[in-house]
């Protein structure tokens, strides 16, 4: 338990835990309304085609079918980012991947709806499919999005901080390499589900398993052409999200439209196969990385190029692209830095944000590259990192403002716990240790749509019976955000957290929180809730002070009591509230939070800033079977700089869950499409899309490093995403320590390990990974003078710097 806090920092049961262990939690598919219809979507069986004709009459003639719709009923385009509103609720002119929805049916039973899909006549005119980033670059036509400016190139960005050529010229050693990070998906246990209810007075209500009810609210109003005030979105507790439920989805719009047309509630629950088509997961990314160092290992510059396979729609992709270049600078000092990133449209399910959003891919390359540099310069990989950690309270060369940084302590802790000094490089062949570090945002500094309003807000209501309710738009996706609200309010009011009622994620009842993404909730709702609760406490304090004729400072709040120690007075919390209510009227207070202004002023500076950055260092021990290429994780030591834990057991659960998901990405999880068979998804099932079971998961020893951040509530920072990032490079580095070969690809599959071992045996470079980077005409970079060189955060005027190489 942390100094001076009663609740913050303890191990506490989550406030919704009893509901979860008794089956009482009501997820979206558990919502049942009278007269409810069931919806099914007809999805494209072809990866890229023009729609020639859709005839719904066969479906409408089926028994039990009440309504059927196609794309023209919802012609308004939408998308999560205002810069890429390229989706329609149901496809209108063309289909862009296998699984793209073209029609929706509502029927009396799910079975009847399913049967009706077979009776829809869909005539498609197939187009050439684009299945890879290379093909997308080299095949400008046919365009997947006819309105796109540059053929099938969705986005190209280029940024340069300092003088990258000079940095490489001054270096004693340069590491250059190509890496590929496979695409993978969230695989939340809960399939997406939604229920819409339309009332003839013009009110629409949607219950949905979404991480972002506020953004869904905006899109429903826009596409359905309803006043936002007439639309209510309730995010049900998510059965896992990991970023997979942060876009507004076709099925959400379809059930709303069908409810409006039929006047009856309409439900949909996607099949697992459909969840694979919704995707929005990790972008498969090709990375070209160059790192320049001095003889002692000091980094002088870095140049990263990334090519992201975006799939068929924009989604969060522009942000994802920037994120593949944003956070390379926040762990170690990088004085000169250049980043070029490109996202391509392909005829695959759209990619988007998954745990770590765009940052695990470059982190994989960076941490392997540091391992190679350490080997080349004969420096211990831990020391190489420790000697150049970004200072606390500093600005990085790309204008990210670092507050607290517990990375050095994280590294030292796992080095000590794992016996690194005695064992690294010294284990028997086939056993290895690998180290990697990372950092992640505690919430994005800017909202998804430009506005100056708070990112998070909360209200607290005190009842004269002593009841306390906190209202907040945040969405519990399993990470425990509802509990964070209760613990913060309990801390501020000195009451039992289990007496607090939490009302969340309901656009009619709760003030806006932007959503459960970018690890923003603890920091942002934490601040807003703390402010609201403190205001409520002060209201009680002044009421009691006046009534008892004491000074406010003499009053303390703890253990469900309000005390004036000097006078020996002790009131139950409820009594104190009643006194204050008599004085002030009913007590309802609010708080809101907006992140600090970003330091970067150049175009592209919006992605990367955060109120605070978490840090992680992980070491994994593996066993590598040289006969099969099988990599078995034996144990993980993970230290995470959380700033200040709000609830220790929940934080440890997030660390362990991140390690688990990182191991899955490192070893087996991958979205695979049949390139020669029309880009059909090879494995859209939980059986064949491999993830770690209870048998493959290894023991994890977690260490929480608490270096409070000035921008965090009580000093707290994020934990939900950061600890995933070290795992893929740590595994690859451990494989190298075990058998001396590099696998520069994720997942590190047995066949890839064997390929690297074979290469080594044949006297070739002991490595397996991508061999070439497609040619791209990168734009002239936006050049920014780094802060250490006197920059003010603005881009240099074009032509004032050097010419592009």
């Amino acid at each position: 338990m942390s100094e001076g806090h009663r609740i913050i920092g303890r191990n506490l049961r989550k406030i919704d835990a009893i509901d979860k262990v008794t089956g009482r939690t009501r997820y979206a598919d558990d919502v049942v309304l009278p007269r409810m219809l069931y919806c099914k979507l007809l999805r494209s069986p072809v990866a890229h085609a023009n729609i020639k004709r859709i005839d719904l009459s066969g479906a409408l003639a089926q028994e039990g079918v009440v309504a059927a719709i196609s794309g023209e009923t919802m012609p308004t385009a939408y998308g999560i980012l205002p810069v890429s509103e390229d989706e329609h609720a149901l496809c209108i002119d063309k289909v862009r991947f296998i699984g793209d929805p073209v029609a929706a049916v509502a029927a009396e039973t799910e079975h009847a709806a399913e049967l009706a899909l077979d009776a829809i006549e869909l005539e498609l005119e197939p187009l050439e499919t684009i299945g890879s980033v290379e093909k997308a670059i080299n095949t400008p036509e046919p365009r997947i999005h006819p309105g796109n400016r540059r053929g099938n190139i969705h986005k190209l960005v280029s940024l340069e901080f300092g003088d990258i050529e000079q940095a490489f010229a001054e270096a004693d050693h340069v590491e250059e390499g190509l890496f590929h990070y496979g695409g993978n998906t969230h695989l939340a246990m809960e399939q997406h589900a939604a229920v819409a209810d339309w009332s003839p007075d013009g009110r629409l209500t949607l219950w949905s398993s979404t991480q972002t009810p506020h953004y869904v609210h905006r899109v429903l109003a826009k596409v359905l052409d309803l006043p936002a005030a007439q639309v209510r979105v309730i995010a049900t507790p998510n059965g896992g999200g990991f970023g997979g439920k942060t876009d507004p989805f076709n099925h959400e719009l379809a059930v709303c439209k069908l409810a409006m047309l039929t006047g009856r509630p309409v439900k949909i629950c996607l099949t697992r196969e459909e969840v694979f088509y919704c995707h929005r997961g990790r972008h498969a990314t090709l990375i070209q990385a160059r790192t320049a160092v001095k003889r002692d290992g000091t980094i002088t510059g870095m140049h990263f190029r990334t090519l992201l396979d975006g799939g068929a729609y924009g989604s969060y992709g522009v942000a994802s692209t920037f994120y593949t270049g944003a956070l390379q600078t926040v762990t170690y000092e990088v004085p000169h830095y250049r980043f070029d990133g490109g996202r391509l449209f392909t005829n695959k399910p759209p990619c988007g944000p998954k745990r770590g959003h765009g940052t695990p891919q470059p982190r994989f390359a960076l941490e392997i590259q540091l391992d190679r540099i350490a080997a080349a310069l004969r420096i211990d990989p831990a020391d190489l990192r420790l000697q150049q950690i970004q200072p606390a309270n500093s600005l990085t060369s790309n204008y990210l403002r670092i507050g607290s940084i517990g990375l050095a302590k994280c590294i030292k802790t796992v080095v000590e716990a794992s016996g690194w000094r005695e064992r690294y490089g010294k284990l028997e062949r086939g056993r290895g240790l690998g180290l990697a570090c990372s950092s992640y945002l505690s919430g994005a500094g800017l909202p998804i749509y430009w506005n100056e309003m708070p990112h998070s807000a909360a209200t607290v209501k005190l009842d004269r019976g002593g009841g306390v309710t906190v209202f907040c738009g945040s969405t519990d996706v399993g990470q425990g955000s509802d509990s964070v609200l209760a613990f913060v309010v309990a801390e501020e009011l000195g009451i039992d957290p289990y007496q607090i009622r939490v009302v969340t994620a309901d656009t009619d009842l709760t003030p806006v929180d932007l959503g459960s993404y970018s690890s923003r909730v603890t920091v942002m709702t934490g601040h807003a809730t703390r402010q609201a609760a403190a205001a409520a406490r002060e209201r009680v304090r002044s009421g009691v002070a006046e009534k008892l004729a004491v000074s406010g400072e003499q009053i303390t709040f703890a253990d469900g009591k309000v005390r004036v120690a000097e006078k020996g007075i002790e009131l139950a919390f409820a009594e104190a509230v009643a006194i204050a209510e008599a004085r002030h009227g009913t007590i309802v207070t609010s708080g809101s939070y907006k992140p600090p202004e970003t330091a970067g002023k150049f175009k592209g500076a919006g992605v990367g800033p955060s109120p605070a950055y978490s840090y992680s260092a992980g070491i994994v021990e593996v066993e590598v079977d040289e006969q099969t290429g099988f990599v078995t994780p034996i144990k993980v030591w993970m230290a995470h700089d959380i700033g200040q834990a709000i609830n220790r057991s929940a934080v440890i659960g997030q660390v362990e869950g991140s390690v688990y998901m990182g191991l899955g990405e490192a070893l087996m999880e991958e979205m695979v499409y049949r390139e020669k068979r029309n880009l059909v998804h090879k494995i859209p099932s939980m059986l064949e899309y491999k993830s770690l079971t209870s048998l493959e998961m290894c023991e994890v020893e977690t260490f929480l490093i608490e270096d409070p951040d000035p921008n965090g509530p009580y000093g707290a920072k994020e934990v939900g995403q950061g600890p995933l990032l070290p795992m893929p490079p740590a595994i690859a580095n451990a494989v190298y320590d075990a058998v001396g070969v590099r696998v520069d690809m994720v997942p590190v599959t047995p066949s890839r390990v064997m390929a690297a071992l074979d290469a080594a045996a044949r006297g070739k470079a002991p490595r397996h990974g991508p061999e070439r980077m497609p040619q791209v005409s990168w734009p002239e970079p936006t050049r920014v003078t780094p802060p250490w060189a006197g920059g003010d955060g603005h881009a240099q005027r074009p032509g004032s710097g050097k010419q592009a190489s």
């Binding site: 008794t22 089956g23 997820y27 598919d29 059986l687």
Partner: protein
């Protein structure tokens, strides 16, 4: 084609229950849609994830792979019947206290698989726990807090 419903008699959580279900309905669907017991979850409906695990005559089964009609006369235990009235099963308390339920969606299935394990083996080793739960996917916890909770519950059951 829509077909007539049939009658299935089950003992669900100790209560004799007569359900009218379409013959193609699985036990999972019958429990959730006909009996109103939505505590049993589904993640795939193909027998891949374990979320729908219930106990049929004491044995953990995937309710998405069993037709309701095939269960006529069986005793079925779902998450709603795991607690003894208002008193939580030690597994439920341990899961709640130790953070073994994050999003909670796999939790009912995991709890029932674990409950069956502790009946047949009151002192399971860590590896036996991992083996018994290997058919239940969890995407949140990394399984560690689940293993810890099963160990704690086993200890509590033994010392009762």
């Amino acid at each position: 084609m829509l077909v007539d419903k049939i009658t299935v008699n089950l003992k669900i959580n100790g209560l004799a229950t007569e359900l009218r279900v379409p013959p193609q309905k699985t036990l999972l669907e019958a429990l959730r849609e006909e009996a109103g017991l939505t505590g049993t979850k589904h993640g795939c409906e193909l027998g891949e994830c374990g979320a729908c695990t219930v106990l049929i005559n004491g044995s953990p089964q995937l309710s998405c792979l069993v037709l309701a009609a095939a269960c006529d006369g069986a005793e079925v235990l779902t998450i709603e019947g795991l607690a003894n009235g208002p008193e939580l099963h030690p597994l439920q308390s341990a899961f709640a206290e130790l953070g073994a339920a994050q999003c909670g969606y796999c939790t009912p299935g995991v709890l029932l698989a674990a409950a069956a394990l502790l009946v047949r083996n009151p002192s399971p080793t860590r590896d036996e726990i991992r083996q018994a739960l290997s058919g239940n996917l969890c995407r949140c916890t990394g399984y560690l807090q689940i293993w810890n909770a099963v160990e704690r519950a086993a200890e509590q059951l033994r010392t009762r």
